[in-house]
């Protein structure tokens, strides 16, 4: 099964990357962890995200659309980085996350969410919506 593993933001990550000894150490530890994930054949991709001060939100309410500039307040709900893993089950994903070095200088959280699979979507999506979604996915293809 495919999962997204999200590193949740903290006060530190929201302040952006700083060239400190702590940061350097974290990068080394994280590099080693990534290497383990690759050696075990479970890591498909992963990236880090800039602080929410560089992000934007669009709020929806009926027909209205309001753009909100970052930074956003509820730090713990923000995402600072993610991986995509292919694992056998959630238990395996949990075990691997436990092995991750703490990605932040202070307390932090990592959240694991399984991807929807074709079969899950087939139940919820009407055929005409499936058709549109297929068309869209086709257009956003790389090549």
């Amino acid at each position: 099964m495919r999962v997204m593993v999200m590193v949740k933001a903290t006060k530190d990550s929201e302040e952006g990357l700083k060239p400190t000894a702590d940061t350097a150490e974290m990068f080394v530890a994280m590099g080693k962890f990534n290497e383990e994930l690759v050696n075990a054949g479970i890591m498909l991709s992963g990236d880090g995200l800039k602080p929410s001060s560089q992000g934007k939100r669009v709020a929806f309410d009926g027909p209205s659309r309001t753009v909100i500039d970052g930074p956003f307040a509820e730090t713990r709900e923000l995402v600072a980085g993610y991986w995509i893993w292919e694992v056998k089950d959630m238990a395996e994903a949990v075990e691997w996350v436990k092995r991750c070095p703490n990605p932040m200088p202070g307390p932090s959280e990592i959240e694991i969410r399984p991807f929807y699979e074709m079969a899950d979507l087939a139940e919820a999506m009407p055929p005409e919506a499936t058709e549109i979604h297929d068309r869209v996915r086709d257009k956003i293809k790389d090549r």
């Binding site: 054949g41 238990a91 090549r143």
Partner: protein
């Protein structure tokens, strides 16, 4: 409830560590079966200790230490027994216990390539491909005998016996469990790649409604391919095979219609292809080519798969490139089926006459004698060349040969269309 959770966590940790554990132990005791028993002993010890102490920081190291203690205890016991039988009565305390020290030394080595060594051993050419596949899934994939049996549409007893025999063969062969080097590596690596692709194809052949363990073989093979690619970053064919599997797997979600029937490549809804796997596959192919392995059999097949993956629509397919890749593939991997596919590719690239010329050369091949795709392809070439009466005969012949009802209906429809 907490106890069950701990229990589950321990089993998961064990599943993750199992392959490396067995690999390290096998190198020590030179016996896969014995290594597996020692690993199981370590699991039993963990199940007894961890609920009280919690899961240790380095569970893999803990399990290895527990298994190692067992191995050393057993060795000491054997030695004692041997001494008693000897009746020489030398003082055991004063003597250097070399094998125990060797054992400890072996464990302190950098075990970086131990897993790779186990993969090479499980895929050793002294074993049949079926035995290699079963053993690899058992030792490296961590599948149970029952799971392997269901995956290969076999029964548990057969698979259990196959694995027991394989372990015995390996023990009798007195292997070193090391990663082969130099010239030997090429031959041994081919055997490993063959097994991984066999596992992948078994999963790929699974049809809707079958036990879900079957399609999961694809994921298992891809994982093995990725492990191998990480461990052997300079072997082009490893990346060729990985690319081939990632690109083929990218279509898994698109090749089954809602009613469970098979959808052919050219008819698939390409929006359903998994773009993440395609990107990974194309990157692996690039790596294989950069390593100078563009003409390897797996890299060539991956390059063929990539031509389809790159085409946004079926009509955009670069048939000239496909035709030229088949020209090379038949040199490095000659087979009548490759020749037939080559004829089809040439007909798509250069017109039906080109296909007819090439198919003329393989029609007599004994292996294709009752192979439905042959007359089906020829019928298609003739149809496109406007030779309708001959096309009709070929389509009808193909319809008789196929066992697939849907395909039969399709071919008969094409035959009927020849009447104009």
């Amino acid at each position: 409830m907490a106890a069950t959770e701990t229990h589950q966590a321990i089993e998961t940790v064990f599943r993750i560590e199992q392959a490396r554990l067995i690999a390290g132990l096998a190198r020590m005791v030179r016996d896969v079966g014995r290594a597996e028993e020692l690993a199981q002993d370590a699991l039993v010890a963990a199940l007894a200790d961890w609920p009280k102490t919690g899961v240790p920081d380095k569970p893999g190291a803990w399990l290895m230490a527990a298994a190692k203690r067992r191995a050393i205890d057993a060795l000491r016991r054997d030695k004692m027994q041997a001494k008693k039988h000897d009746e020489i009565g030398r003082d055991l305390e004063g003597e250097r216990d070399t094998s125990v020290e060797d054992l400890e030394g072996a464990l302190d080595d950098d075990l970086g390539d131990e897993l790779l060594g186990l993969i090479f051993t499980a895929c050793h050419p002294v074993l049949s491909p079926e035995a290699r596949a079963a053993l690899t899934l058992r030792l490296i994939g961590g599948l149970t005998t029952d799971e392997i049996a269901r995956a290969f549409l076999s029964n548990e007893t057969t698979i259990a016996q196959r694995i027991v025999r394989a372990k015995k063969t390996l023990r009798d062969a007195g292997l070193s469990f090391e990663v082969p080097r130099g010239q030997e590596r090429a031959a041994r690596l081919a055997s490993v790649l063959e097994v991984i692709y066999l596992i992948f194809n078994e999963g790929y052949a699974a049809t809707a409604g079958e036990d879900l363990i079957r399609p999961s073989l694809c994921a298992e093979a891809q994982r093995l391919g990725r492990i191998l690619a990480a461990a052997l970053p300079d072997e082009s064919e490893v990346f060729g095979l990985l690319a081939l599997m990632e690109i083929q797997a990218s279509r898994l979600g698109a090749r089954t219609a809602p009613d469970g029937s098979f959808v052919s490549l050219m008819e698939q809804n390409r929006a359903r292809w998994d773009q993440l796997l395609i990107r990974r596959g194309l990157a692996a192919l690039e790596r294989a080519e950069a390593l100078g392995g563009a003409d390897g059999p797996y890299a060539l097949q991956a390059a063929l798969a990539a031509c389809h993956a790159r085409a946004r629509k079926a009509e955009d397919t670069d048939w000239k490139r496909i035709a030229s890749l088949y020209d090379t593939l038949r040199e490095v991997m000659p087979s009548p089926v490759v020749d037939l596919n080559r004829a089809v590719a040439h007909s798509m690239a250069f017109g039906p006459e080109a296909g007819l010329t090439l198919i003329g050369g393989i029609e007599q091949a004994a292996t294709l004698h009752s192979y439905a795709p042959l007359p089906a392809a020829k019928g298609d070439f003739l149809f496109r060349a406007g030779r309708l009466a001959e096309a009709k005969t070929e389509f009808e012949r193909a319809a008789v040969l196929t066992c697939n009802e849907r395909e039969k209906a399709f071919l008969l429809k094409r035959a009927a269309a020849c009447d104009g």
